[in-house]
């Protein structure tokens, strides 16, 4: 029982980071109806870009975060042009885009490894110091800063989606693509924007996670892409509020398993959880049926 504050604290940190990652998947699935599996590598790429900016050039980590968001966003738009757009509409394009983005992800991961080497790297802290709260819990300011940044990014995203015309267009395309096109929305511009946004979110998520984890290496993105996918499915593919709930529930679940059963059981427990969810409620939290989503 005494461990509960620790579970809540770690769960909140993980949840905030997973939410960013999963929002990338869900935004892209929501409007383009495909899974962008290159996000795992873009997550790593973002972390490396921020690492170069902050540890290499010596600028503040927050500048690195912004640079990573922008650069990786551009890369994401490029991936859309090269590996996604030529396939959309072909017979079997859903699985073809899964494979092509997976292939892009492998290529990016390998390029990262060639450029920066396979060794672990340490990301500079956003903040240092910690405070003891209660008997078991030591709150690191670093982790608090991560949650604050993640929440700020989500607030900005919420503002973009609900208060701007671009956001309106994105939501229109997500709700009904054909109707949005009839209404004069330029589909390809929206797709590019969504791919860039989703990729940028994955990058931010990568930067934040690598500041709280011990090390950064070229293969780190894969495990987190899988978690992002689990969160996305649990939330209901394409639903943004569902994704946010799912991220924090899964963050809590994971920190619960880690504290009570050990770190190694996090992933298997998570996947068993996913299977149970998909059997009991295939549509995820948000309640849109899988039939409609295909």
């Amino acid at each position: 029982m005494s461990q509960i504050p620790l579970v809540l604290y770690q769960g909140a940190v993980l949840g905030a980071i997973y939410a960013l990652m999963a929002l990338g998947f869900t935004l892209i699935y929501g409007s383009l109806r495909f899974l962008n599996l290159s996000l795992g590598s873009l997550f790593t790429l973002g972390a490396y870009v921020a690492w170069v900016v902050s540890a290499g050039i010596g600028l503040p980590p927050l500048v690195g975060l912004v640079v990573a968001f922008v650069l990786v966003g551009i890369v994401g738009a490029g991936i859309h042009e090269v590996a996604v757009r030529p396939l959309v509409g072909r017979p079997g394009w859903e699985i073809a885009t899964i494979i092509s983005t997976l292939a892009v992800g492998i290529v990016i991961q390998q390029l990262i490894q060639i450029v920066w080497g396979p060794r672990n790297q340490g990301m500079p802290d956003l903040m240092s110091g910690s405070a003891r709260v209660g008997p078991v819990l030591v709150v690191q300011y670093q982790r608090v800063a991560v949650v604050v940044v993640a929440v700020a990014v989500m607030a900005a995203l919420w503002w973009l989606l609900t208060r701007t015309r671009h956001g309106l267009a994105i939501r229109a395309v997500a709700q009904n693509r054909d109707a949005a096109l009839l209404g004069g929305v330029s589909a390809n511009r929206i797709f590019l924007l969504v791919m860039a946004l989703g990729s940028g979110l994955a990058a931010v998520s990568g930067v934040l996670l690598s500041t709280v984890m011990v090390s950064l290496n070229p293969t780190v993105g894969l495990a987190y892409a899988l978690r992002g996918l689990v969160v996305t499915l649990f939330g209901g593919l394409g639903s943004i509020t569902g994704t946010l709930w799912a991220a924090f529930i899964i963050g809590l679940f994971e920190s619960f398993v880690a504290v009570y059963f050990g770190e190694g059981w996090k992933l298997p427990a998570l996947f068993v959880f996913l299977i149970v969810v998909l059997v009991v409620r295939p549509s995820g939290l948000a309640g849109v049926s899988a039939e409609e989503r295909t």
Binding site: I114, P268, F271
Partner: protein, 339 residues
């Protein structure tokens, strides 16, 4: 150049089957002669692996290419077959041939465990759920901390296939012929399944689900059945692999190996019958050529995978089959149609 070609485009010439049998026989002869021509342990080992992975890919293509089930639990079933035979031989002293059959049966049972929740779902969900099963299997094997199933080092020293032979090459050559026989039998059975009424049912589900359902195809049952059949062959190949190497470990579930396997069927051409075999040969040989450039291997395969999806959606099987059609027409024009 001025001759009108529109009429030829409007009614494409029907495919000719005149070369099918000769090419099949030729392919078999090459496969039989290969270990005699490349008579070193190094090459025969490569040939054995090609046969084993070709079986895995044929089974994967049956569900991915023909039945439209995007299952990524293929390697999990493969490794499960391997563990079954290894543990039965180690702890229960089962003979390896019986273990091989048991591996296939256990993989079939496991495919029901995976298939029952997964196959009611569609598209991207199937992909993710089966990938989740892959990760669960991998973690169960790795997290076995009390070493009952070997932990991350897997199971070794439970015996190896031995079909006799005087020298190392000779022994390997015999294993190769057994593997080749297995590949031929599995391919023939898969061919029969694809062209059976059930094959028609799952191909129609892939191509036009609404129509297939309206004609009364029991979707869930058909998918579960073809999934189980594919798993049987996959488990068989996995058990054969473990018995041939004398070891099996969670390393076989590495994501890089899954990607390699995917590259084989995508580059070879999924949804085509010989594509997975061609892809296995090509990717495996390319892999050997790149042995000296270890860091570049995944990069090369990633690029090849991307280019193949973009420009050769049916893999290299498509241009090869076009070439075969032209050759067959040429022969037909010379010797006349067979009756």
């Amino acid at each position: 150049m001025s001759a009108p070609t529109a009429s030829a485009d409007a009614a494409p010439r029907p495919r000719s089957t005149i070369l099918d049998l000769p090419l099949l026989v030729l392919g078999l002869l090459v496969a039989i002669a290969a270990p005699l021509l490349l008579h070193t342990s190094y090459w025969v080992r490569i040939l054995i692996l090609i046969c084993i992975f070709a079986i895995v890919n044929q089974a994967w293509n049956l569900i991915m290419g023909y039945a439209g089930i995007w299952s990524f639990a293929q390697l999990a079933l493969f490794v499960l077959g391997g563990y079954t035979t290894a543990l039965l031989a180690l702890h229960r002293d089962w003979p390896l041939w019986a273990g091989t059959l048991a591996g296939a049966v256990v993989a079939t049972l496991a495919s029901l465990v995976i298939g029952i929740p997964s196959l009611r779902l569609k598209g991207a969900y199937v992909f993710l759920l089966t990938l989740a099963f892959h990760e669960i299997f991998r973690n169960i094997f790795i997290l076995d901390t009390d070493q009952r199933i070997g932990g991350q080092y897997g199971v070794q020293r439970f015996g190896k296939f031995d079909f006799g032979g005087d020298s190392a090459v000779e022994r390997l050559t015999r294993v190769y012929y057994v593997a080749l026989l297995l590949l031929v039998v599995v391919s023939a059975v898969i061919w029969k399944i694809i062209h059976s009424p059930m094959g028609l049912a799952f191909r129609s589900l892939r191509d036009s689900e609404a129509y297939a359902l309206s004609r009364g195809v029991p979707e869930y049952r058909v998918k579960l059945l073809v999934y189980a059949i594919s798993a049987f062959f996959t488990g068989l190949a996995g058990a054969f692999y473990a018995n041939y190497l004398g070891s099996i470990s969670p390393l076989n579930l590495d994501i890089g190996i899954l990607m390699n396997q995917l590259a084989m069927i995508v580059i070879g051409g999924w949804g085509t019958f010989f594509g997975p075999i061609i892809g296995t040969v090509v990717v495996r040989l390319a892999d050997e050529q790149l042995r000296d450039f270890d860091a570049l291997r995944p990069l090369v395969f990633g690029l090849a995978l991307l280019l193949s999806v973009l420009f050769l959606p049916q893999g290299i099987a498509k241009p090869l089959s076009d070439l075969k059609d032209r050759a067959a027409w040429w022969v037909e024009d010379r010797v006349g149609k067979p009756h």
